[in-house]
Symmetry: C2
Subunit: 591 residues, 2 copies
Amino acid sequence: MPSYTAPSKDMQYVLHDVLNIAASDIPGYGDLDRDFTAAILDEAGKIATEVLSPLNPVGDTVGCKMENGVVYTPPGFKDAFAQMQAGGWPGIDMPEEFGGQGLPYVMGTAVGEYFSSANQAFTMYQGLTHGAASTILAHGTADQKATYLPKMVACDWTGTMNLTEPHCGTDLGLMRTRAEPQADGSYKVTGQKIFISAGEHDMAENIVHLVLAKIPGGPEGIKGVSLFIVPKVLVNDDGSLGARNAVSCGKIEEKMGIHGNATCVMNYDGATGYLLGEEHKGMRAMFTMMNEARLGVGMQGLAQAEIAFQNALAYAKDRLQGRDVTGVKNPDGPADPLIVHPDIRRNLMEQKSFAEGARAFLLWGATLIDAAHRKGDADADGLISLMTPVIKGFLTDKGFDMTVQAQQIYGGHGYIEEWGMSQFARDARIAMIYEGANGVQALDLVGRKLAQDGGKHVMAFFDLVKAFCKENAETEGMAEFIEPLKRASKDLQTAAMYFMAEGMKNPNAALAGSYDFMHLFGHVCLGLMWAKMARASNAALAAGTDDPVFHQTKLVTARFYMTRQLPMTATHLARIQAGAGAVMALEAANF
Amino acid sequence: MPSYTAPSKDMQYVLHDVLNIAASDIPGYGDLDRDFTAAILDEAGKIATEVLSPLNPVGDTVGCKMENGVVYTPPGFKDAFAQMQAGGWPGIDMPEEFGGQGLPYVMGTAVGEYFSSANQAFTMYQGLTHGAASTILAHGTADQKATYLPKMVACDWTGTMNLTEPHCGTDLGLMRTRAEPQADGSYKVTGQKIFISAGEHDMAENIVHLVLAKIPGGPEGIKGVSLFIVPKVLVNDDGSLGARNAVSCGKIEEKMGIHGNATCVMNYDGATGYLLGEEHKGMRAMFTMMNEARLGVGMQGLAQAEIAFQNALAYAKDRLQGRDVTGVKNPDGPADPLIVHPDIRRNLMEQKSFAEGARAFLLWGATLIDAAHRKGDADADGLISLMTPVIKGFLTDKGFDMTVQAQQIYGGHGYIEEWGMSQFARDARIAMIYEGANGVQALDLVGRKLAQDGGKHVMAFFDLVKAFCKENAETEGMAEFIEPLKRASKDLQTAAMYFMAEGMKNPNAALAGSYDFMHLFGHVCLGLMWAKMARASNAALAAGTDDPVFHQTKLVTARFYMTRQLPMTATHLARIQAGAGAVMALEAANF
């Protein structure tokens, strides 16, 4: 069975050595000193390792079952959920006013990685609740907040998001679910939603569904979509639970992975719903949830890559097979461990440099969200809005690839379910699809985010990279990291300029290169992170750190990323510059 | 449920327009005219579509079951197996002397792709039998051939290969299975083998296990390994079946995919075995089987990519979602089909250009095998020996990637088992692992094959590319294909020279780049195939073909590969030239 150890040393390094959060002027960051964050990470790591991780294969093997309309989560999930609630983890970064811990989002992100690594399917129940609660927080009335948030922050009630219907996922303008206004101001919601994660289960006394639907007579298409709160059990005026609402789970889907999470077909048969936010502005409200969810899904890519890497590394050190070609390393054993072999190391270094780079990228992104929300920093808001599709698309694509590479280290044992490596790949696979398939992320990035506010945010990104390069160009030991970053960033700029020049004439020229652009952008972001880590570790070494090996290891890993991963930007650029010609040339019938 | 249509038009194109097989002087090729191969492909396509394909999801869902030591294949497998036998498919390219059809290997490869696309798990039962029979054909005594081959060619008896043990897969020198010589010339084989595909099942009256074991007192390690025939049921002198041998299936593994194939733990408890080939030369004999198996596994990569592509394409044409940004394409519908979107096309074109390029590559490889075996062409033998790890490693890596991309076209539906796209990815995943994990293929390529016979074969490959480029440099319409091929081939040569120069000083410099080299080589091979197809289609168009659309489509797809896939060689080269430094720098403890 695979094991999991929370990477708290690395997390502390990113939070403090690289991002220096305690020195930030973002409200709430002043409290986040090393000892404080260490205590939180330590506790979160314990529950991840001891409670959630052992349940991960159970969730995969047993899955969720539906009997007579009741959905049962896998054995042990209920107890674990109660333990998470008791520890206050679901509300760690929710307002104290509603029972949360009131910590910054960056801390929620840090511990979220642990929980997601240890048990992605389980952690989704609280993750979706968090997203639904955030939406009510942003768009709900005072009454709605008072009714739902204390229960949801505590995860006594969980939440869901209901967008997809059988005939539409990405194109929500085709939606058929209807909400008929009632005399008392409520609505009757009727329709079918599919792929509803955590749609029905036995771990909470109520489930608060956020449902997109059309109010008859409203505008056509996506402009006539509104968002509704549809509780599984209606809530009385005194806050107690009342009658069962007309919403039910039609079936649980059989999926490739995340078997521990119930993916439900939800039937709304004139269910009572309450408008959340304004009429016909449902998409805007839903995006509050979706943007947060996209960062959370990007994190899942990292999280599965991390646990897969940990286990692949342990196997590579343990499994004896073949001899080091440059000389026997384990003379007393029948063979050397796998890790002596260069191609095994190449594979492991790809995993390591991805996981650590992605962690820095995500936490940096989380600080931007805190700056936007806690400090009202519009530039930070613009930058994270630009990078959200990159975090979602790039980290989940690469995260999945890394779980597949980790599986490969095990040879045949990687394909056998007993060893658990297959589950990491199967679970990670969904993250490339849900919350907007990665092709849609690329479209969002190139079709919308690049040009947002006159291209201001992408220019800010380039300036930020430039400023970093300039600041550190002369710093001893930094040239080897700055040069490749500059080249990669230049590739990204060239691609953006190509889009501007060609996209004016033909939007397909930009869209045909959107996926490559998203990956190109991702590599530049990870390159920037590795350059920042190299600077932090060079500084620590210069200052006489008492842990030189840790920082030297960072430098080696940074070097690996720069020389072995970042060159990929050139190929992405070449593909982009090949244009739309061969992509668009064929008639559909001739494919 | 997914569907499958045999790509016979494309297969005919490669066999005749590109490879011009009927004009070859390889014995047996003269008969392979268009009508003859069309008739075979047509029949094979029918059984693949009508019999094997509908059983593919059944195999996945129901899997194999063991009860009281008896292994039951999924419902319908037995009947389908009997139909395959009745059609003579298992022996299509086996000698007529033993009941085969005596056709060249290239025809076995062509129909093998169909069967493997339609049902990989099912097709493995006869594929492994073919490999085992080929080994007996190459290394068996006249008696052994007479006893086993007629039954195996007909698949009345199936075959297996037994290499892996719990503690060793790649490093077979660590093997513990023992074969004790007996007075009658037989051996008593004792030990445990794992991951034995088709190790036990209910579709044949006997199973002929080929087992690697050590004869006590022989040389240490890999040099003391011998190969044995260990039938499940002993065969009497008159050829009738006798007593049950002391070999049994200990359990069936739970796997990520290929559930329809029984992957068995096999226990040999003093089982009667017969030496196949010479004492202590078991590895050499086993390599007969393994080289053939590696090509077959490379084919599985293509085969799963092909069926996944067919279904993704159908879905992209059918599913309505969003509108073409350059103008509505389906004004009467609520939305345009997915295929109007540039990134969907980018994805589909990657799949299409891979599948068609890989098909040409594999069939070209098969003609080299025929040239080697039927004509004694040593150069062809050297070339296919060089390219075997590329076919296995590159085609299975890319084949798996393509199934994942095909799954992505379906959005959420791709993750739901009901649609079948998950199975293609889960089944394809094994091909990267078995018959030598792809890292081992890369090691074989760089560590052994490159330098084989003084580097003669890789030089022959470069000469072949050069000659093609030179011949076609001035041909109208060919420059756009020749130039990228030249550049890619130059990257490959530069990488090979880097290995020669650096590898002398430090073998790790070459080995750290071995995986990138395998992929670089694969891209050059597919680039060569696309250039050849471009030439064939340009010629057909110039000659006034009555199917211009087919050939114009080939040119577009060739252009796509050249401009959008082949640029990857530059990144592989950059990674290789980064050397072993950052790959090897860390102590194992510091990862």
